[in-house]
């Protein structure tokens, strides 16, 4: 019957409070052998005027944008080849690892991905099937799976190439992207 009570300064949106409650529930469920139904989370909200720390009144801190929202927006921008907007979501030390033999193909600049794609296909679009978040400390790991469709260099269409992308997101910036897919198999097969 674990009960988690958390004091918050009033002002966080309902969406943020629901997200926080889900994560507190997950932390308990992954630590104690308690059924999910037995885990209770409750927030005590206090007005800012009823709250002081270090002799200083405080206001609610900002909530982070959900890591999966950032990732899905990044993927859309990359599909549209809007590199400048996509770049605003990545950390300066951003690394991408795309399919390839011997530990994959490591890229550090979004332009390198465009160059990597150029000899392979005309364009590619994602149909997303699942989005999962895993988290530890300040890093949220986002997994996106689904299928790829698009056009080969000769203009013939393809579809149904399975993909999975793994992202590490910290402080609203993508630090790392790892990509696996069946694209080579699909592109090698006759249209």
């Amino acid at each position: 019957m674990p009960i988690v009570r958390t004091t918050l300064i009033r002002g966080y949106s309902e969406e943020v409070r629901v997200r926080l409650a889900e994560r507190l529930t997950d932390a308990v469920a992954a630590t104690l052998k308690a059924p999910l139904d037995a885990v209770t989370v409750a927030f005590d909200e206090v007005d800012a005027t009823n709250y002081m720390r270090g002799r200083v009144p405080r206001t609610p801190g900002e909530a982070l944008r959900p890591a999966s929202d950032i990732v899905l927006q990044f993927l859309r921008l990359m599909e549209d080849r809007d590199l400048e907007a996509a770049r605003s979501h990545v950390h300066p030390d951003f690394t991408m690892v795309f399919p390839g033999p011997r530990n994959g193909t490591a890229l550090t600049k979004l332009e390198e991905l465009v160059a990597f794609a150029a000899p392979r296909y005309r364009f590619v679009r994602k149909t997303i099937e699942t989005v999962d978040e895993s988290y530890r400390g300040t890093i949220t790991t986002v997994f996106v799976t689904g299928t790829l469709n698009g056009e080969r260099l000769d203009g013939s269409p393809f579809e149904g190439a399975r993909f999975i992308d793994r992202f590490e997101v910290e402080a609203e910036r993508i630090r790392r992207q790892d990509v696996w897919n069946d694209l080579s198999l699909t592109l090698a097969s006759a249209p």
Partner: protein
């Protein structure tokens, strides 16, 4: 909740559902598909690279026997995503082994996605870079 650990370090405490996945993978790699079947639910489906579906751990074992002389996984980490009534567990690392002609390989990236319900694996999805090696003319396998 995420457990990001060296799966091969036996003392490291990992999420219960990640432990089920780790034991399934270790048993599969023996290879002991009948033993691995103890960790899967009756409705189990595994989707391999290229979208090939199998309904028993025997399927991947037979597929691997045709593709590799032998293959094993170096499990680098698990990522765990909790959900309502199920847990999604990701195993990430590299494959190593020998191609059918005996040429060794290693550093072949893989990720497996597992859906675990009530302590049993109901779905497994497999991705790896083996096709990249097979299609790469600079990779000598003869």
């Amino acid at each position: 909740m995420s457990v990001q650990s060296l799966a091969n370090a036996p003392d490291y405490r990992i999420h219960d559902d990640a432990e089920i996945v780790r034991r399934y993978l270790e048993t599969s790699m023996i290879p002991d598909p009948e033993g691995a079947a103890a960790f899967v639910a009756p409705e189990f489906v595994v989707t391999f690279t290229g979208g090939r579906d199998f309904d028993h751990p025997r399927g991947p074992t037979a597929f691997n026997a045709a593709r590799y002389k032998w293959v094993k996984k170096r499990m680098d980490r698990f990522d765990v995503a909790p959900g309502n009534g199920e847990t999604v567990v990701y195993s990430i690392g590299t494959l190593y082994g020998e191609w059918p002609d005996g040429t060794p390989f290693k550093d072949n990236r893989y990720v497996d996605r597992f859906v675990v319900r009530n302590g049993k694996i109901v779905k497994m999805d497999v991705w790896n870079d083996s096709a990249e090696w097979i299609l790469d003319p600079s990779v000598s396998r003869s």
